[in-house]
Symmetry: C2
Subunit: 404 residues, 2 copies
Amino acid sequence: MVTVNHNYLKLPGSYLFSTIGKKVKAYKEANPQANVISLGIGDVTQPLAPAIIEALHKSVDEMGDAATFHGYAPDLGYEFLRSAIAKNDYKDRGCDIEADEIFVSDGAKSDSGNIQEIFGLDNKIAVCDPVYPVYVDTNVMAGRTGEYNKERGNFDNVIYMPCTASNGFLPEFPEEVPDLIYLCFPNNPTGGAITKPQLQEWVDYANKNGSVIIYDAAYEAYISEEDVPHSIYECEGARSCAIELRSFSKNAGFTGVRLGFTVVPKDLVRDGVDLHSLWARRHGTKFNGAPYIVQRAGEAVYSPEGKAQLKEQVGYYMSNAKAIYEGLASAGYSVSGGVNAPYIWLKTPDKMTSWEFFDYLLEKANIVGTPGSGFGAHGEGFFRLTAFGTQENTLEAIERIKNL
Amino acid sequence: MVTVNHNYLKLPGSYLFSTIGKKVKAYKEANPQANVISLGIGDVTQPLAPAIIEALHKSVDEMGDAATFHGYAPDLGYEFLRSAIAKNDYKDRGCDIEADEIFVSDGAKSDSGNIQEIFGLDNKIAVCDPVYPVYVDTNVMAGRTGEYNKERGNFDNVIYMPCTASNGFLPEFPEEVPDLIYLCFPNNPTGGAITKPQLQEWVDYANKNGSVIIYDAAYEAYISEEDVPHSIYECEGARSCAIELRSFSKNAGFTGVRLGFTVVPKDLVRDGVDLHSLWARRHGTKFNGAPYIVQRAGEAVYSPEGKAQLKEQVGYYMSNAKAIYEGLASAGYSVSGGVNAPYIWLKTPDKMTSWEFFDYLLEKANIVGTPGSGFGAHGEGFFRLTAFGTQENTLEAIERIKNL
């Protein structure tokens, strides 16, 4: 008899952003005149930069000509893109990462969900709380966790590391040593950043204990402060304990284009096996490469024109972040984030729960944000706003919140 | 301590096409003057059709304008594409499949590798032998099989259904009833097809036994005979036992564009759970949608211009198939396939093993094919050639083989 994967049944309700989408859709249908502004899901609004559009058109033309047509891409990514990444994101920052340690993919969500597949089911994972739901949910689906505990609002057999106002939204070393440690900095959802000395402590911890850090650096382009590392490989010893996930979604607006990459250094060996080979095998067996035209678009991110245009685009969003942060602070909210990240994390007023504040904001101000509790038990009583809206909408939203 | 997924270590050597790629690269480096023709990996050579190029340019322009920019796609696919698929691939053929039963993805390789994740690890799988390696390898990686048996050249705890000359390359019902049955028709690698009455028997068998058929119809565009079904949903009762995988790679040349889809009918319930919801959860958690521009390109496949242009493209490849089939037959080879599929399956001469014939063909005729044994133990002594080359190369290759 066919059995289903019963681990899926442990997941309570649907994926956070699907739930938000359904709620917003229902509200809009009931209130067709409402001008709803979304500062909720972390989706960008600015169009692709001209250098990227140009690269796309050029590569589309190549695909229309037999002489320059490209069929199956190399499983792990085109050499031109892997080299551009190695140079610009790593070597130019003093990180010792080679092109063949970079695995090009269709985005960081896929990679952050798939990376756990190369590990045994007996590994214990540690995550920040609050946290991007994909890390935990994919481990639940694989069977690496216990049941969902309704009272606590999280899963058994997972090490949650509370990130709260009292510890500056930075995780502390847990009592029990985890096997796999998911870290995301600059952080989604809190918008907090980690300094290089602080991250070095985690690298040392992982090396000492034989743990593996899965480091999600999807938001590195938003770093504005000097002592905040763009890559975990800026820390000494990271090659022997860390996998890094990166995205083109937020630095180049590729949320609808789909491109990302994962770095697995060849020095990373656990259980007698090098993880680089395992990930290569996974990638080569369950994935068939990112589209040629998309990889050419990714290459354009690193051209001089691309870099200049995207610096401007990131600046645009960061001025939104500043406006949200200052507007909320002046309205009396407790706010953090927004300096090295496109996310602003605020404490809900009047002891409202996160979802109560979600409904309140949607109904009273027609603004969509993301309930902190959707990111974990310690996100309860918090709320996330993103800087990815248009400037006009962002300023309008802040005015509405101020006038509540 | 971190453990790796030990199931990966059961896999013998690397993925078939990686091995071929390495062998060919080494040969070309040692013989830089050789004009090597590849009829090996099933990759297309014709450029994208004009209607598709036009759709790509148009949607790229949309991505460059804030008013028409598209960020995150709906997890399961854009409505415009899901509707076009439901209409053209299903309703127009009399199949009762709705748009919301279609899950758009980045390709059939991903889907055929990922689909097993929604099932329990205790399910026993059945595959044809020879078979597309991804079905088995991904089940090995998940832990659904036993060890690799070197003597037999396959895995313990998998039901292999021999497809040989004696049964016309069609699987027979196995002695032990399988839970998950992978079928691919028109078949890769043998190029064989199944008639509708024959497929109906499998549907009835699955419904009677509570099995699930995972039906890979990636090559349906190559069907030329009337009684060969394009979809398993042409069979009565398939909605309650079958998942269908489809690709744009072979009907529209999207091997480097990446687009596919999976159909999970809402009637498909096993173990008290509807599989549609499980796959939706998997898709929404571990995938973030296919690129907007690629989905627009997919839509163009169904436009009147797209259809006409692609019919011509498929015709081009099928005339290659005919040339290969007839050329080999006239040279005295035992050949099959090539009538409803772009693959020609031939018996190696002089009792050569498949890899011996691979080396022989590469060295003596500078032609790359795919060793049948790479697809399973019962592929030993066979060899696959594809019709996806250019006409010029294909005719030249046939001449070279004839002159051997």
